[in-house]
């Protein structure tokens, strides 16, 4: 490949540009009105203005993206995460135009994007799934009947949902009845699909995912796990690898299950199999993300691999560079997602970054979408940067992270950096003793203001 169009923005566009540069590949990026001053626009070989700031007029504008790809005669499109990355129709369209998609086939994207279909596929393949519905649910009465069989609390989810949107926990029949209509409406608005399903709500639970990779010759391996249990509003805040919870045996079992899941759909390129793990060490398939994950750097730091390079090589038809037995998990890595938001209320805080200083230090990697003087707009997700801290062991990571946040400085908008400082001081977190309920169960971590 000689030229790649990156259909994304911010930190992930910058991340992909970096590997393109290292591989001698030209990178073409697109940007909206709001993003014209962001670093990735300058870093790419060439940048095209794509439209107004709202996503439907910019990063979701398939026609415009295809037009630029054709004009530039690119070999491939890298979708990053979010936006068009899991849009099967888009993947199909560009493949038919002879442009490679850096990701799996459109059939796999479509099959795994439909969460009910994905559950069914995994059940058939012998991968344990969260107890719940096999068929999509269309009305509230049906939902209630099924929830009675499963037992409360349950999670009501949109089949086309993801990223924490279109899902709600229901403790009883009354809540389920009330939530069904509004969640279904929201699913239709966000995803254009109102199919719903119900899963048993597992608690306490850990959210642990396995990175997998497949080449076009049918070889599939895993690159170990990431523990993503520290979340707010079902969205990840901190991720680490290895998971402080998993035993060697469970780690191996989950790796094997993830590979089996990927094999059942003849998976190619990078993907992630998400599992929920209960307090007894039982793990269940949650969903499969058919793209590069936000938190892929912790896998890179502990395996020494460049996943974007692997993605490009796989899309070129090259075989995987390593066998399963050759992949080593070494040291420890933790990622902190720096969000433009109030650390207490988790409410968005868009605005201008007047000053920004990331302290240097050994084992510190910064994947940033913004720099001093940029404005974080309200149009996209609130992530400013990912701070990835690595060391030979977990306690070393925690020390480095504490030092980092002690001298981290950002002025102009609110961020969740103060929350990270408190989490790092928490003894349960220090011991690796946490579940997805961590932030809601520890109100003392949330700053009390007013």
């Amino acid at each position: 490949m000689k030229k790649i169009l990156i259909a994304n923005r911010g930190e992930i566009a910058a991340r992909i540009v970096r590997t393109c540069q290292e591989m001698g590949i030209e990178s073409i990026v697109v940007y909206s009105d709001a993003d014209k001053d962001l670093p990735y626009v300058q870093q790419a070989t060439r940048a095209y203005h794509i439209g107004e700031s709202p996503v439907v007029k910019s990063y979701l504008n398939q026609d415009k993206i295809v037009e630029i790809a054709q004009k530039e005669n690119v070999d491939a499109i890298h979708p990053g995460y979010g936006f068009l990355s899991e849009n099967g129709a888009f993947v199909k369209q560009i493949e038919e135009l002879g442009i490679a998609f850096i990701g799996p086939s459109w059939q796999v994207v479509e099959a795994m994007g439909d969460k009910v279909e994905a559950r069914r596929t995994m059940e058939k393949a012998g991968v344990p799934v969260v107890p719940g519905t096999t068929d999509p649910i269309n009305d509230g009465d049906e939902a209630i009947a099924i929830a009675r069989q499963i037992g409360y609390p349950v999670m009501l989810k949109a089949s086309a949902g993801g990223g924490g949107i279109g899902m709600v926990k229901c403790d009883n029949e009354e809540t389920l009845k009330k939530q069904f209509v509004s969640t279904q409406q929201r699913a239709k608005m966000y995803f254009g699909n109102d199919r719903m399903f119900i899963e048993k709500y597992i608690s306490p639970a850990r959210h642990i995912e396995v990175q997998i990779f497949g080449d076009q010759n049918g070889n599939i391996i895993h690159l170990f796990e990431r523990d993503c249990s520290i979340q707010r509003r079902h969205q990840k805040v901190i991720e680490e690898s290895p998971s402080p919870y998993l035993t060697e045996q469970l780690r191996e079992e989950m790796g094997r299950a993830a590979v089996k899941a990927a094999q059942s759909v003849s998976y190619t390129n990078a993907g992630t199999v998400e599992f929920i793990v209960d307090e007894n060490g039982n793990f269940y398939f949650l969903e499969m993300n058919t793209r590069l994950q936000v938190e892929h750097p912790v896998t890179e730091m502990t395996t020494g691999l460049d996943l974007v390079r692997w993605q490009i090589q796989t899309a070129e038809g090259k075989p995987l560079a390593l066998l399963q037995s050759e992949v080593q998990q070494q040291g420890h890595s933790i990622e902190f997602r720096l969000y433009a938001e109030d650390p207490a209320k988790f409410l968005p805080s868009p605005g201008k970054i007047k000053d920004l200083r990331f302290p240097d230090g050994e084992g510190i990697r910064i994947d940033a979408g913004y720099e001093k003087g940029n404005t974080v707009s309200p149009f996209y997700d609130p992530m400013i940067a990912k701070i990835i801290v690595s060391d030979s062991n977990r306690s070393g990571c925690l020390k480095r992270a504490s030092d980092f946040f002690d001298s981290f400085h950002l002025e102009g908008i609110k961020t969740n950096a103060p929350l990270f400082k408190k989490i790092l001081e928490d003894t349960d977190f220090q011991k690796g003793n946490y579940t997805t309920g961590f932030l809601t169960e520890k109100p003392q971590l949330i700053e009390q203001k007013n």
Partner: protein
């Protein structure tokens, strides 16, 4: 006359009231979407909706007037 203003920049996602409606203090009148989150904007005081200044899909800045109460 009392005004309900946007607490942050965002896009108008939903308008929960109509002209002439009685609203109570603390009632959500408009939902904004900012950074992929839905932010309910509440009336600080009770009143009758006199005018709705925005439409669904409009972009508003922090401090912009959304609804005027009488």
């Amino acid at each position: 006359m009392k005004q309900v203003t946007a607490s942050m920049a965002g896009t108008v996602w939903n308008i929960a009231v109509s002209q002439g409606d009685e609203v109570a203090a603390g009632q959500s009148v408009v939902v904004l979407e900012s950074m992929k989150m839905e932010i309910p904007i509440e009336a600080e005081t009770a009143g009758t909706v006199e005018e709705i200044k925005v439409a669904v899909g409009d972009f508003v800045n922090e401090g912009d007037v959304l609804v005027v109460l009488a």
